[in-house]
């Protein structure tokens, strides 16, 4: 089921209503059933995979607790890792690895008939697999006890607001919340609904409108001039941000309505002043997961410089691979790793450089330059993320650098041309205004407005903003049941 669908519009209020009517000790069952129903709306049989992960990890963690030695715990950790990563490899990476093996053999003139499976990628498999893995690793490390209640644990793995695209929650944070009795609080519900509304706005008004432009241009870059391709690349940066952070907002908002706090997943990443700052703001639940379960175990910062560089590169390449079984994602991840290493290597040089510039003493100018540079480094990497192949990415870069400006200013809205030539400029202006509105909302911080609860002016501001978002959503939204980009990961 999609958050941006009529079905969810019925499903969610129904679940919330029943939830608050039920006594606390039945609520986990309702949420568990609702979560499985939510997931099974895509492909019912794939719910079995979640059940397998849940059962194996439940049993593995319980068994771990009974072991006296680390060695004893380790074998159950391995069981969990093999099961979860095995499912992930089988459904997500098998064809890619098989093809890569085939290509490698072919390079040595050895014929190898690589097997390929026509399997549909289970929605959200990377998310729930990582979530449940973090639980078994935490139990293995002794950071939390094994959960005894299978129902609560199953709910932790499948909790519908964040099941298919995160935030990837830690058991230490989410599981205890299921045991707490949640009371209906109007302010909290309103706040959750407001966050869901903002998420929907980002997804339906901005991301899906930008998708029309980006998809057109990236499907046939030769039909467009450099300006249009460049605009499409900028648009993609905002599309993926609005799509993914929009999903996170809806997920966090929906959980909030039910009384649960999910972790923040985005913190205005495009105002980051450096790449390391960007990763503290982008997909926070994943970057912290990699930090805690891969980077630190590899040695983290507490190692030699070469080892540290190796650790950084490994984490980012693996992060790229997590996103998809394609060389483009590996390059995207690798690029971010390289950015970080170059950033670290040039830190002193940059410090001196800024010191030499007279205007840099004004922190504002420096900040703007840093933000613009960081944004464009991220933007360059997005080309690889969006392109269907490395060849396509190279072609896109070539087309941008060819400086083909023959289309003039009409190139700005050319990506909308296939929809309706006369609507192109209108759509272009609409989407730019929507992005400005989004930035405005993020700047003023909705929560701040909410805190000033009872004053007339606060009400006026809050309601005006609500009205603007709801009406723009209704009138300018693109409603075509388009899935969220991160569902494919």
């Amino acid at each position: 089921m999609l958050f941006n669908s009529f079905d969810f519009l019925i499903f969610f209020p129904l679940v919330v209503s029943i939830y608050f009517l039920l006594p606390h000790h039945f609520r986990w069952l309702l949420l568990l059933c609702a979560s499985y129903y939510f997931y099974m709306c895509w492909k019912p049989e794939y719910a079995v995979l979640i059940m397998i992960s849940t059962l194996i990890d439940y049993v593995a963690a319980r068994q771990m607790e009974k072991q006296d030695t680390k060695q004893g715990r380790k074998k159950y950790l391995i069981l969990s890792l093999i099961t979860n990563l095995g499912l992930l490899v089988a459904f997500k990476y098998f064809n890619f690895l098989s093809d890569a093996t085939h290509q490698t053999f072919a390079a040595f003139n050895i014929f190898y008939d690589a097997p390929m499976f026509d399997l549909l990628l289970p929605v959200g498999i990377s998310f729930y697999t990582f979530q449940t893995l973090s639980y078994t690793i935490d139990v293995y490390r002794g950071e939390r006890p094994a959960e005894k209640h299978l129902g609560y644990f199953a709910l932790y793995v499948s909790f519908f607001p964040q099941l298919v695209a995160g935030p990837i929650e830690r058991s230490t944070r989410l599981l205890p919340q299921f045991f707490q009795e949640k009371k209906y609080e109007a302010a909290r519900v309103a706040s959750g609904l407001r966050q869901m509304l903002f998420g929907l706005f980002k997804k339906v008004v901005i991301a899906d409108r930008l998708a029309v432009y980006v998809d057109n241009v990236y499907a046939s870059p030769d039909d467009f001039g450099s300006l249009t391709i460049l605009i499409a690349t900028y648009f993609f940066a905002f599309q993926i941000y609005c799509d993914f952070s929009g999903y996170s907002d809806i997920a966090i908002g929906a959980a909030k309505v039910l009384g649960y706090d999910l972790m923040e997943n985005f913190r205005r990443p495009y105002i980051a002043k450096s790449i390391s700052d960007f990763w503290k703001r982008w997909h926070i639940s994943l970057s912290t997961w990699f930090r805690d379960y891969l980077y630190i175990p590899l040695g983290g910062n507490k190692s030699s410089k070469i080892r540290w560089q190796y650790n950084v590169l490994v984490v980012f390449v693996v992060s790229g691979f997590w996103h998809g079984a394609n060389w483009t994602f590996l390059v995207w991840g690798g690029l971010h790793g390289v950015y970080l290493l170059i950033g670290s290597a040039t830190a002193n040089l940059r410090y001196k450089f800024w010191g030499m510039l007279p205007f840099a003493s004004d922190g504002k100018v420096k900040r703007i330059i840093q933000r613009v540079l960081t944004f464009h480094l991220v933007l360059f990497a997005w080309i690889f993320f969006r392109a269907a192949s490395l060849t396509d990415a190279g072609h896109i870069i070539n087309r941008i650098l060819s400086l083909d400006l023959s289309s003039g200013l009409s190139g700005l809205s050319a990506g909308f041309a296939s929809v309706n030539s006369s609507a192109g400029p209108f759509m272009f202006i609409t989407v730019i205004l929507a992005i400005i509105l989004m930035e405005f909302v993020q700047t003023i911080n909705l929560n701040e407005v909410e805190r000033v609860s009872d004053s007339v002016s606060a009400n006026w501001k809050r309601w005006s903003l609500d009205y603007a978002l709801i009406i723009i959503l209704l009138l300018f939204g693109v409603f075509g049941h388009s899935e969220f980009i991160y569902f494919q990961f």
């Binding site: 009529f6 109007a186 929809v419 309706n420 006369s422 609507a423 209108f426 759509m427 609409t430 309601w463 609500d466 009205y467 709801i470 009406i471 209704l474 009138l475 300018f476 939204g477 693109v478 409603f479 075509g480």
Partner: protein
Amino acid sequence: MIKNILKYSVGLLATYLILLLGLSNVYIGDYSLLQYAIDDRVQPYYYGHALQRFREVDNYKDVDILFIGSSHCYQSFDPAVFARLGGTTFNLGSNSQAPVNTYYILKEYWEQLNPKLVIFELYPNVIELDGLEGYFELLPNKRLSWETVGMTVAVKHPHAINAFVSRLINAPFRPVEKAVQRSLTSQEYRAGGYVYSKIIYPGDQFGDKQAVNLSEKQIEYVHEIISFIKEHGADVILVSAPLPVERVAAITNYKETTALFGSIAAEHDIAYYDFNQTIDLPTSENFRDHHHLNANGAKVFSYALVDTLLAVHTTLENYDIDPIHASDLISGRAIAAMSGGQNEAAANDFTLALELNSNNSKALFNRGLLEINNGQFEKALNDFVRLQLIDPTDMRVIYNRGVALQRLGRLAEAESEFNKVIESEPSFSEAFYSLAQTLESGGRISEAIKMYEYFISRADKRLQQLIEPVKAHIKELRR
């Protein structure tokens, strides 16, 4: 809290309505700002002639055949062809009309039109739509009703609600009753809902090769529509109108798609006809664009559909289709086939025409001639005997009966028939010739020569070419 919720809701609603009113009345080019916002690219009162169609339908009651479906519907069923069957027809097709739209249109007009047969047109690319485009086409062009409300909800799209509310609040300022159809030179609206166009598609673009992804929702509505019609006691058939062969080839899963339509029909025990598999229409003559028939194609297709209806639906009286007209129609086509040398097709059509009307003398007569040409003299004799019973005074019948008898060697009977013709109609010069041949076959040479000479003296212009050979033949006989 309730007071706050109420205030909040009223404020929201008021803001929404004011904005909607403003956006729907500011135009850039052909479209209002609202249309740009909601991706409504339909210009009302224009291409589909829906305004005229939904005005005209108010004058119709109790029709025999109702056509319903997409733009392929109102451009494919030529009412002139169906009119020759007798009874009344109406076409309620409209642009991009998906089954969810069709369902509510049918519900709205059912009681008034009360059709005996519904011909439900299915175009694969429309069955994959969500129904929003079809809704945008219907909404401004027809009166509002509860079925419109139903359709708005069923389309399940926020922009359908926006468009509906906009239509509602603009109704006092822009009533549909005062709307004027914009003129078009490329096509013409004909009574009964049909749109006639003589354009011939010169292009070579037939759309990208891709599979149709049928919407489950629309398929459900196809089932709903069939059930609705059957529950109301009418008959229904599913039809896919002809497309250019290139367009069919561009739909990579065309066979699977039409097989699904066939299985839906079978499930409901009704017929489905895919005319892309039964008639072959050259693209260069029969299409106005890469997928719609032009007037010529519509005519040929309508004849083919009538033929199919007549062949399959034997109880034609159920539809008030006049079998005598139908029989005439079919025999006319058979005569055309006969003159084109398509004897087998002609024979089948004559038989069909005579099944519909055993007294169709035109069919009987021409079938007799065809049988003589085919050497089936006994059959020809039977047909001419039947014709004599219908009209004993028709000399052409008596003459051809004589010809059949002569070919069967029954010379005395043949001679008698030719004599009857000569006595009643001395200008019937072929009778002298045939009588002469009969006498010659019987060895009565001098009498034969005399008749040949009579023939020469009476032969009209049509038979002038025979005079010289007959003269030469007389000379040979005299030797």
